[in-house]
């Protein structure tokens, strides 16, 4: 049986979690269902709730196995699914500055897409992005919404030592790196905007579901913001 946004599958994991699956392939409706259940659970947590982790088409719900169990948590989640949402809050709009000058892969992306470099930049800036999920490393937020014209497969082999603050793209995803890490994605810019904010009250710039726009800055502005 295949899961759907209206008929998810609940998969118990070990002694302490349930994975709620709303689809099997990348799909807007399935992702919307993930965000909806995540918000409903935050508003009305189950007994023994520990944390939930939203991803593209599924939500992980972890609980304390000493005080509850899978059937009780699943019943709670089913209850949340049938509650109609009151018009959900507008997603928060975030802005990320990006400098496209001196970018290692801008020329390669231009060549692969058949666009002039300036058109690659325009395309990247035109995207309406949304934070689909975090993963890979702390603060690595996967932004969906890269325009069709500049969607490329990953490079055949990852490049090591890519700087923190790199703006990278692959397929429909864009990401602003937070650590020096290897990546096989295309490096099209660099950003002084910190996703790991160092602000204890709000340590991550984005929440899953936030909308993001990129704003172009010059090399001088980038250096001044560093």
């Amino acid at each position: 049986m295949q899961p759907t946004p209206s008929a998810p599958i609940f998969r118990p994991i070990a002694e302490r979690a349930v994975l709620v699956e709303f689809g099997t392939a990348l799909d807007q409706a399935a992702h919307a269902a993930v965000l909806h259940l995540d918000q409903a659970l935050a508003a009305t947590p189950c007994t023994g709730f520990r944390e939930s982790v939203p991803a593209f088409v599924n939500l992980l719900v972890e609980f304390d196995p000493l005080i509850t169990d899978h059937p009780t948590v699943i019943a709670h989640l089913r209850g949340l699914l049938i509650v109609k949402t009151t018009a959900s809050a507008q997603p928060t709009q975030r802005e990320v500055s990006v400098c496209y000058e001196d970018s290692p892969d801008l020329a390669a992306v231009a060549e692969a897409t058949g666009l002039p470099p300036e058109a690659v930049i325009t395309a990247h800036l035109s995207g309406d992005y949304a934070v689909a999920m975090y993963g890979f490393a702390p603060g690595y937020a996967y932004l969906g919404g890269v325009p069709e014209a500049i969607r490329l497969d990953r490079k055949p082999a990852p490049v090591r030592g890519v700087a923190a603050g790199s703006v990278i793209i692959a397929g429909a995803q864009c990401l602003i790196t937070t650590l020096v890490m290897p990546t096989g994605w295309w490096i099209i810019g660099r950003s002084p905007t910190r996703i790991l904010t160092a602000d204890p009250a709000h340590p991550f710039l984005f929440d899953v579901g936030d909308n993001v726009r990129f704003r172009r800055i010059s090399r001088a502005e980038y250096e001044a913001a560093q």
Partner: protein, 314 residues
């Protein structure tokens, strides 16, 4: 109030500061981190009457040598069959001792185990990240990896002569070779035959391990049609299988999401003693139902709490 300062003479790779970890942030890509063997770490703190989750040092097979520059402090060394050497005396782990200014404590792997823990009667000063001093290995955030010549400061350092001496090592703190697990959450990407292989075959631990995970050697358990599953959230203890059929058990610093299918997930209560296995140890997987996994977990928690209470109150 006195302060003790310790100089790191030598620290092997993966020797880090840990505390209870930072659970609740997986949605931001941050795993809980914390000790690989949470039970031994908790017992180290209990043994010297520290609050649960008090910051201490996680020692890998690489070992650690500390020289006390100033002050005096009592400490507990708990976890694995490690060997401690101080004042030309050789002692086993599972012991409380006091380190005086001018003395050096050298800790090396002994007959068994891969991780040992130092808890101090005092407050080990270290960088905090997101409310925890636990080190996240790949970023180095948190208390951090220990390096030679670094100086550690322990404030409110105390001596607890009445607690000094050996402490019992419970049998369940020794390496565990039979891992109880539930199937999935992506077992549907494996044929019935592969699942049967996975739960009946002997695997071997390898030296490809760190705080993120431990790769196993054994029969190929390659998935079918799992090339393009969207990245899913990951739980510590899940057994991820790469396209070529190699299984990896995900541990403290695991990535929070990933696209490789997870064939089974090991019960949390079996992970602490599993990580005490050494490379080339045999391991096998035994599947249990989710209901059984809860029953096992509750029994384990009771047994652990009773032991911890006795140790704390002794």
């Amino acid at each position: 109030m006195t302060t003790a300062t310790l100089s790191v003479r030598f620290a092997g790779p993966h020797v880090t500061i840990q505390d209870q970890g930072r659970p609740g942030l997986m949605r931001y890509g941050v795993p809980a981190s914390g000790p690989m063997d949470r039970q031994s770490f908790a017992l180290a703190n209990a043994a010297i009457g520290n609050p649960a989750g008090h910051p201490g040092i996680e020692i890998s097979l690489g070992g650690l040598s500390l020289h006390c520059l100033t002050g005096v402090v009592t400490l507990a060394l708990v976890g694995g069959g490690f060997i401690a050497e101080t004042n030309a005396r050789k002692l086993g782990a599972w012991r409380i001792l006091t380190l005086n200014a001018g003395e050096t404590l050298t800790i090396r792997p002994g007959p068994w185990g891969s991780w040992s823990y130092l808890a101090f009667a005092g407050d080990l000063q270290a960088e905090s990240w997101l409310g925890s001093r636990a080190t996240h290995g790949s970023s180095g955030f948190g208390g951090g990896k220990l390096t030679a010549d670094q100086t550690l400061t322990i404030t409110d350092a105390q001596t607890l002569p009445e607690r000094e001496g050996p402490i019992p090592c419970p049998v369940w703190a020794r390496p565990r070779h039979l891992l109880r697990c539930t199937l999935g959450p992506q077992d549907r990407f494996f044929s019935a035959e592969t699942l049967n292989t996975f739960t009946s075959a002997r695997f071997e631990t390898t030296d490809a391990f760190d705080r993120m995970g431990l790769r196993l050697r054994g029969p190929s358990v390659a998935p079918t049609n799992a090339l393009s599953i969207p990245s899913e959230p990951i739980l510590r203890g899940s057994v991820q299988v790469s396209g070529d059929g190699v299984a990896t058990v995900l541990l403290s610093d695991h990535q929070t999401t990933g696209g490789y299918p997870k064939i089974t997930t090991v019960l949390s209560c079996d992970l602490d003693s599993f990580v005490q296995c050494r490379p080339r140890d045999a391991v096998m997987f035994q599947t249990v139902t989710p209901a059984e996994s809860i029953e096992i977990t509750r029994q384990n928690a009771q047994r652990f709490a009773a032991f911890e209470d006795r140790l704390r109150g002794r």
